[in-house]
């Protein structure tokens, strides 16, 4: 089968392919009513471009869906981390305990402080036990944050107690200005609880 094709049609095809190859799928081969097999090819290219647009649209929709899901997961993760990083426990009516774990930077300290102050106000807490058993090291930024937290607790009328300070952490606290804390420090959380309960008259005072 021989086929005579004008240069204009070949150029039209090539221009369409080059444009499409650059990512513009809106281009189309201009069709004319030719009775030859090349028309099938020209139309086939147009149909292929239709499909490419369809797939691209689907891909964009899937990508958007994935992004939305990823944002949702990140938000849920943030909420979970925040909840886990601020586990304020009411160990007795009016007594809150907060075990601190890991590094506490300014941002985390702000979240912890806000959550803690909210709970102190809501529960009219008289005592707050900050347990540092899970804090292996005090970073430079941690001590000012901790100081601010303790001062804020005091402003709400609650008394703050520190427990679980590790031997290697104690010098760091002193070096970083922890002397200004003016809070009672005890070895274990249970010691602090016993002291608080004794203060409240709920237990005999074990030690002062």
């Amino acid at each position: 089968m021989s086929l005579t094709i004008t240069e204009a049609r070949i150029n039209g095809l090539l221009n369409t392919l080059v444009t499409a190859a650059s990512g513009d799928y809106d281009v189309r081969v201009a069709l004319e009513e030719h009775e030859d097999p090349l028309l099938d090819v020209e139309l086939g290219i147009n149909y292929l471009l239709d499909e490419l647009i369809e797939r691209r649209t689907q891909n964009e929709a899937q990508e958007e869906e994935l992004l939305t899901r990823a944002r949702q997961l990140a938000r849920q993760q943030d909420e979970l981390v925040q909840a886990l990083s601020t586990p304020v426990i009411a160990v007795w009516p009016g007594v809150l305990a907060l075990p601190l774990v890991g590094r506490i930077d300014d941002a985390r300290a702000a979240v912890i402080t806000a959550t803690l102050l909210e709970r102190i106000a809501a529960e009219r807490a008289s005592h707050v036990i900050l347990d540092l058993t899970g804090v292996a090291a005090i970073a430079d930024a941690t001590m000012p944050a901790l100081l601010r937290m303790i001062r804020a607790i005091g402003l709400l009328g609650a008394r703050c107690l520190l427990t679980g300070i590790r031997a290697e952490v104690a010098p760091q606290i002193v070096a970083l200005g922890g002397n200004d804390l003016h809070v009672r420090a005890l070895a274990r959380l249970s010691d602090a609880l016993a002291l608080v309960l004794a203060d409240k008259g709920a237990l005999d005072q074990p030690h002062r």
């Binding site: 069709l31 004319e32 009513e33 030719h34 009775e35 028309l39 099938d40 020209e42 139309l43 086939g44 149909y47 239709d50 499909e51 369809e54």
Partner: protein, 120 residues
Amino acid sequence: MPFVFAEATTPQGKPLLRIHVRDEVTITDAEALGARIEDDGPNHRWRILSVVEKGTEYSPAARRYFPNLQPKYGAIAVAVTSPIVRAAINMMMRLTGQAPNLRLFSSEAEALAWLDQLEI
């Protein structure tokens, strides 16, 4: 409406669904045809004569839908004079794979004669 349906008979008196096709055929139009030739549709397994005007176009969604219709019609004769429309239908037939009971004609008379001689 790109599809205008009419129930008729072939020259030999066999039931015929005649479809006049023009403009852009969308998925809605294709589904309307599908509903007619579904198992419980009024034209299930009928002979179909589709007269397609020059300038008719098929949307991508409609093109993807048409292969689903294959087992639901008896035969389709397409009368088409436009080479572009014929190329479009040829392309859809290629996408369908095998469409033994679908054939293109350049005149309505030829199309009807083919439909009449078919045993369905």
